[in-house]
């Protein structure tokens, strides 16, 4: 095993370093802006990379949580996300398993077919769906989002789970079945427990798809108390030409950090599931 040469290492730093700075800069900037006072922020004479005139301050965070409906939006997002994740698992766990193990040759084709529906973007569907939602009287209700969001989380999760289940050794199931367990018991008692890391990955990534969704949320919900963070921050904290920049940056920073940490933890499993399904 040849070790990496010094030149190669230096090359890596020279490529990765600048990219890391550019890609992460907006987050550094969120953090910096979120702690500034008005006097410091809106004075072009001040150096934007340092603090003066009363900065750093936590006032912007207080403003966000007491004078805006930010907390409502966070709660709405968590609520919608949690229910959508449950619905997603109910549909995609059995389907993912059956496609990976029970279906034989046609399973792969159906799996790819389900996955392709994930490529049908919300921008094609939001117009008819917005009409359907208002015919059903669900406009401005979180129920509308709970109803529609599984349309992209279920195909995505079924595909990931199919990939995970393929990596589980068949012998484990065979052993349980030799001991007299039925297929369904094997599924519940043997397969699902050892697939827990994979299932958690699906939970994280489905939840993150919900937080990232913008078009449906923008079209279906216009009451400010029923908004999710994806639209609430952008539509409510910007009023006409008045921008609450520090509050805005605090609002973007708060959900980003935990999600980014979770992503990092589950990334390798995500890749395994995403590419393990068909493209090995």
């Amino acid at each position: 095993m040849a070790s990496t040469s010094l030149r190669e290492k230096l090359g890596s730093y020279l490529v990765v370093g600048p990219f890391a700075i550019v890609l992460a800069f907006p987050f550094y900037w969120m953090l910096w802006t979120a702690f500034k006072t008005d006097g410091d922020l809106y004075n072009v004479e001040n150096i934007p990379f340092s603090f003066t005139q009363g900065s750093p301050t936590s006032r912007n965070f207080t403003f966000l949580f007491t004078d805006t409906q930010y907390l409502d939006w966070l709660e709405n997002t968590a609520f919608v996300g949690a229910i959508v994740v449950v619905i997603t698992l109910v549909f995609s766990l059995p389907a993912g398993y059956a496609l990976a193990r029970l279906s034989g040759g046609w399973g792969q084709s159906v799996g790819v077919g389900i996955f392709l529906t994930y490529l049908v973007p919300p921008t094609l569907l939001f117009l008819p769906l917005s009409r359907v939602i208002s015919e059903l009287g669900l406009q401005d209700k979180l129920t509308s989002l709970i109803l529609v969001y599984p349309s992209f989380t279920v195909p995505f999760s079924t595909w990931l789970l199919m990939g995970f289940f393929k990596t589980i050794p068949r012998e484990l199931e065979d052993a349980a079945r030799v001991d007299g367990a039925s297929r369904l018991t094997t599924l519940l008692r043997v397969v699902f427990p050892i697939s827990l890391p994979g299932i958690l990955t699906v939970v994280i990534f489905s939840f993150s798809l919900v937080v990232n969704e913008f078009v449906y949320s923008l079209t279906f919900i216009s009451t400010s108390s029923e908004k999710t963070i994806s639209t609430g921050v952008f539509t409510e904290l910007i009023r006409g030409d008045v921008f609450f920049w520090q509050g805005l940056m605090a609002a973007t920073l708060i959900p980003s950090i935990p999600l980014a940490l979770l992503y990092n933890v589950f990334l390798n499993r995500f890749i395994a599931g995403f590419t393990g399904g068909a493209f090995r």
């Binding site: 599984p150 994806s230 590419t275």
Partner: protein, 327 residues
């Protein structure tokens, strides 16, 4: 005797669930049905709407044939949007492929601090994009843009001669006036560049991750064989790494195309299609026509112009899936 007959139905049900032929469809059907109702249904409805004169407030209208498609086409804004969508997609994907290729090759080697650098590179993909785009709105602000501040202030050692904007003026075809700094979201050309850059920023981490997975899957023996044959540097990349990487790179690219051409979030938050429709895309134009102006039929027709692209991507994906199945 009696006990045996009573037990039979239960045993039959159990046998039914044990049979793969039956159990598999039973487990798959709910997901398929759900997808049919929530995706195929609305998609067909969109096609129907695009052939009708339905407006906001109703779900039906009179059949008007291809009128909506033709009306949309006749509008110069639509053609601008179509061209912008192509430009937006191609330009951002080219940036993404180059950046992700470089990053993946650099990140595959072990080096000190790799963990933290990888974390920083992943951030744009891990954070919700509607929030990330708002941060860019602030970075590109008309008065307090940090980019502009950096351009015109003396931050490099070397005094007034080395102001960043002077360097830009010297080595690029652009000219920056320090008292009239670039309006990143207010100038038609710059605004298009801004939305392209923000979208590339967002997709680079995803493509890097997929490329890394592809590189990591190349067996060590292939590497060693290439070394024995004397293939190094560019030669090795061209004859060994690239062909092996191509399938997974194509998948990442196809994904990128769909999620760029059909993405509305970045453009809507940064510019809403402005200034003067210079960043109007099919998605934002469809939203404005269908929701803001209330022409449901024409809005649906505009968004369905994206369908050929999606169909082409889907066919290519299927082809790849089949090939990897055979191998």
């Amino acid at each position: 005797m009696e006990a045996a007959t009573a037990a039979r139905p239960r045993r039959r049900r159990r046998a039914f669930l044990e049979e793969r032929r039956f159990l598999a469809p039973v487990l798959i059907a709910p997901a398929c049905l759900f997808i049919a109702v929530l995706i195929a249904g609305p998609l067909l409805l969109a096609v129907y709407l695009s052939f009708s004169d339905a407006t906001a407030g109703s779900l039906t209208g009179d059949w008007v044939g291809f009128d909506n498609y033709l009306n949309a086409w006749d509008n110069p804004v639509f053609r601008k949007a179509l061209w912008n969508t192509v430009l937006f997609t191609v330009a951002s994907q080219v940036i993404v492929l180059i950046a992700a290729g470089l990053l993946a090759h650099a990140l595959i080697r072990p080096f000190r601090g790799k963990w933290i650098l990888r974390f920083l590179i992943l951030l744009p993909w891990a954070a919700p994009i509607p929030l990330g785009a708002v941060a860019w709105l602030w970075i590109y602000d008309s008065l307090f843009s940090v980019v502009n501040w950096t351009l015109v202030h003396d931050i490099l050692p070397g005094g007034g001669e080395l102001l960043p904007y002077k360097i830009v003026n010297a080595i690029t075809p652009w000219t920056i006036e320090p008292f009239d700094p670039p309006q990143w979201l207010g100038d038609p050309t710059l605004a298009l560049g801004a939305v392209i850059s923000v979208h590339a920023w967002r997709v680079i981490p995803f493509a890097t991750v997929i490329f890394l997975a592809g590189l990591a899957s190349i067996p060590k023996e292939v590497d060693d064989a290439a070394k024995v044959d004397g293939a190094t540097g560019l030669k090795k990349f061209w004859y060994v790494t690239l062909p092996l990487q191509l399938p997974i790179a194509t998948v990442a690219l196809l994904f990128g195309i769909v999620f760029t051409a059909a993405d509305m979030t970045v453009v809507y938050i940064l510019t809403r299609g402005g200034p003067f429709n210079s960043t109007q895309m099919l998605t934002t134009w469809s939203y404005q026509t269908g929701i803001n102006a209330g022409s449901l039929g024409e809005g649906a027709a505009i968004s369905l112009y994206l369908l050929p692209v999606l169909a082409a991507v889907a066919i290519l994906m299927l082809r790849f899936a089949r090939r990897s199945e055979v191998s």
